[in-house]
Amino acid sequence: MQVVIFNIGKERFALETRLVHGIEKMMNITYVPKAPYYIRGLANLRGNIISVIDLKKYLNVDSEKVQENIIIVEVQEEKVGLMVDSVQEVVDITDDMLEKINNENTLTRGVINFKDYIVTLLDGENLIK
């Protein structure tokens, strides 16, 4: 399985690359009054309008850093932007590195153990529902 690893605050997260449509630099985002708190707004992705989720708020992670990247994911033919602090790398992982965690948080699929650090693997499909 191939994953994209990115940073929010002091934590690292990952998403499966099969869901990732592209990685963009920060874009102009139009604020949408009355939208849910975690939705940053709408952006123009090459002529298509996409919603942008502020992942920091969605996952309730503290971060003072400037958000540099938007990861575009595509789930059920709908593209959505995920605002993150920065994208680190794309790596292949093996199943034995993945430790499933059984908690109520359906947004995560497990933890990837890289020995010197750990990364939370997000469930892209559940993220965008």
Binding site: T30, V32, L42, N44, N48, I50, I53
Partner: protein, 664 residues
């Protein structure tokens, strides 16, 4: 082989084929003798069967196959068309539709077709006996046979068709038919038998069969000879005049055993039909040419439109640059580019347009079923079905129309006895008319029924706490669009649950359209729907509220006025302004949208009208009027009813489009 790539094509084409079948069977019901319609139904059913078979949908293939069997009996005059059979056929079509829908939705639910197949087989069997004696037999001849007939005529041979009816208790049908065959063969030459000789040998016929033959003897002699054979009840011999032959190169008949020629000649005994037949064929050919088209995936069209939209945005940017740097040469070229992009935009809009026929198609069938259900005789007249609308409108408008038509049939049109008593024509009429009016499309649904009962509406209004005092008749009639407003005392299966009209209105408002009702007691009711021709491009006013820019569709805007905040008065704790002696309630958009308000006395009021309501929207700035392309905001924001969508402006920024109807 991977079939998934063909699935879309299959689904689309099957839906179309089913629609055609529905239409054709309706026509057949009206004109049961028309062989062309039967042939056309046969062709379409055959295509459907073939496609379903090759895609591996055996149930569909099987059901269509059984339908074909029944149709084949129509074709060979073994079975007569009656409303019973038509109903069974319609049931089959409905089932096929459900099956195809299930495939589309990826629903694996199995639908039992056994009962239907049994029904089909039953109608095929039980009706055989009741065959009409005077039905005309279609002796299908090929050119080879035709030549023989011609030559025979030149040599003074007579061409006859004999109908031979066996006695009811005839035990050896094949033997009798063989004797008849032999007798006639001795007298001249047999051209054809119906059913075929094989079928005669295997007794695959009821009590009668037909033989076409040449002979020098006259009809009576032949008749006497045949009657000499035992167990023959009756013999009818008709001579075939050459004038009644016509050449029909309609189709290649697959069952033709003679492979020399693919062109068939139909010798039809009924002459009258020939003329209409030829006419229809011609029309069909014409239609085929007029509708030459390419099937394009809607997604591709959307992409195409997106790209054109992008092009427009960048053109605007380039124009900005060219003005900034005062580059004359660039400016000229840009003007050209501008013209081309506008043309391109127009074109892509037109490509998305579809004739409303797509929606209207299903209504004749619906009216037929409704009139059976309700026991009323109703005529549906459709006009202007070629009026074109944007694909999105076409997709959405069906449901409200179904509702209005059902209402017209159920509540509007009176029972036949009542109509006769009132001196109206016994048959009720519902008219469905579409036409273009400016940049709007108008759809009218008219019935000549009893009309709206003003008193009843008034009573109903008062019973739910609406005062109708001072309201014009027209206003009162339009109350029927309010939520929970149904004056029908009886809830029927068809309408009257009180959820109808407001849903109709909401749906049409969502499409940016309006609906009104005109009605005269005793004369009938007309619903008039006005819809924008295209949904995706609208004229909009751009306004600024706080730091955000919003677009408001010009369709809603009555006028825009500049005011001083101090002019806003309070009555009943609500903010209003007095404009031209009218009190207009004010909505502060900044408050409505939870934005911080700007401290300034000089503001603007955009007066908007939706239905009966007139409201002023308070905004901070006006940014001008512009043509914008509406784009969906996506699933995550779908629940926000404040916006109808968003658009991308010349500077590439996304701007929200306010849904005025939802805000006020």
């Amino acid at each position: 082989m991977d079939m998934s790539q063909y699935l879309d094509v299959f689904l689309e084409e099957s839906s179309e084929n089913l629609q055609t079948l529905n239409q054709n069977i309706l026509e057949l019901e009206k004109d049961p003798e028309n062989k062309d319609i039967i042939n056309s139904i046969f062709r379409v059913a055959h295509t459907l069967k073939g496609m379903a078979g090759s895609m591996g949908f055996t149930d569909i293939a099987e059901l269509t196959h059984k339908m074909e069997n029944v149709l084949d009996k129509f074709r060979n005059d073994i079975l007569k068309v009656d409303s019973n059979i038509i109903n069974v056929l319609f049931k089959c079509l409905d089932t096929l539709e459900i099956m195809i829908d299930n495939i589309r939705d990826g629903n694996d639910e199995k639908i039992s077709i056994d009962n239907l197949i049994k029904e089909l087989e039953n109608v095929g069997e039980s009706k055989k006996e009741q065959k009409d004696e005077k039905s005309n037999i279609d002796f299908t001849l090929n050119i080879y046979d035709e030549n023989i007939i011609k030559q025979a005529k030149e040599k003074n041979y007579n061409v006859y068709t004999a109908e031979i009816i066996l006695t009811d208790d005839c035990l050896l049908k094949s033997a009798r038919s063989f004797l008849v065959y032999k007798t006639i063969e001795d007298l001249g030459e047999i051209i054809k038998t119906v059913p075929s000789v094989d079928d005669l040998e295997q007794e695959n016929f009821q009590d009668r069969f037909y033989i076409m033959f040449l002979t020098q003897k006259n009809a009576d002699e032949v008749k006497d000879l045949i009657l000499n054979i035992s167990e023959i009840k009756e013999v009818n011999i008709n001579s075939i005049a050459e004038s009644s032959k016509s050449i029909n190169n309609l189709e290649t008949k697959k069952q033709s055993d003679n492979q020399l020629e693919s062109n068939n000649i139909d010798v039809d005994i009924n002459k009258k039909q020939e003329n209409t037949k030829a006419k229809i064929t011609k029309e069909e050919e014409k239609n085929k040419k007029a509708h030459q088209s390419v099937r394009v995936d809607l997604e591709r069209l959307d992409k195409f439109m997106n790209l054109v939209g992008e092009l427009v945005i960048h053109r605007t940017r380039l124009e900005q640059i060219s003005t900034n740097y005062r580059l004359g040469e660039l400016h000229e070229t840009l003007e050209q580019v501008g013209r081309i992009t506008s043309d391109l935009q127009d074109l892509v809009m037109k490509v998305r347009m579809l004739p409303i026929e797509r929606v209207f198609n299903r209504f004749p069938r619906m009216i037929r079923d409704l009139s059976q259900e309700l026991g009323k005789d109703i005529d549906l007249i459709i006009k202007g079905e070629d009026t074109e609308l944007d694909r999105t409108v076409i997709d959405e408008i069906g449901e409200p129309l179904v509702h209005l038509i059902r209402n017209a049939a159920d509540h509007g049109i009176e029972k036949t006895e009542e109509r006769i008593k009132l001196g109206k024509p016994a048959k009720g009429t519902i008219k469905l008319i579409a036409y273009q009016e400016g940049n709007k499309a108008v759809i009218k649904i008219e019935d000549d029924g009893k009309g709206l009962d003003l008193e009843k509406i008034k009573r109903k209004a008062e019973s739910i706490g609406i005062s109708t005092e001072g309201m014009s008749e027209n206003d009162i009639k339009n109350l029927i669009f309010m939520q929970g407003f149904s004056t029908s005392e009886k809830v029927t299966d068809i309408s009257g649950r009180g959820v109808g009209m407001d849903v109709v209105k909401t749906k049409i408002s969502n499409l940016g359209g309006t609906v009104e009702v005109v009605s005269e007691k005793g004369k009938g009711t007309a619903f008039i729907i006005r819809l924008p021709l295209t949904l995706s491009i609208i004229q909009a006013l751009l306004v600024k509220v706080s730091d955000e820019t919003f677009a408001i569709s010009l369709g809603f805007i009555d006028r825009v006025i500049n005011i001083n905040v101090n002019e806003i008065k309070l009555t009943n704790n609500k903010e209003v302004i007095l404009y031209r002696d009218k009190i207009i309630p004010i909505i502060r958009l900044s408050e409505k949208l939870n934005l911080k308000s700007v401290e300034s006395n000089n503001k603007y009021i955009v007066i908007v009208k939706t239905g009966e309501k007139t409201v002023g929207l308070l905004v901070d700035e006006l940014l001008g009027q512009q043509e914008i392309v509406i784009k969906p905001v996506g699933k995550l924001l779908q629940n926000l009813k404040e916006y109808v969508g968003a658009t991308i402006l010349g500077d590439g920024l996304v701007t929200l489009i306010l849904d005025v109807a939802a805000i006020v």
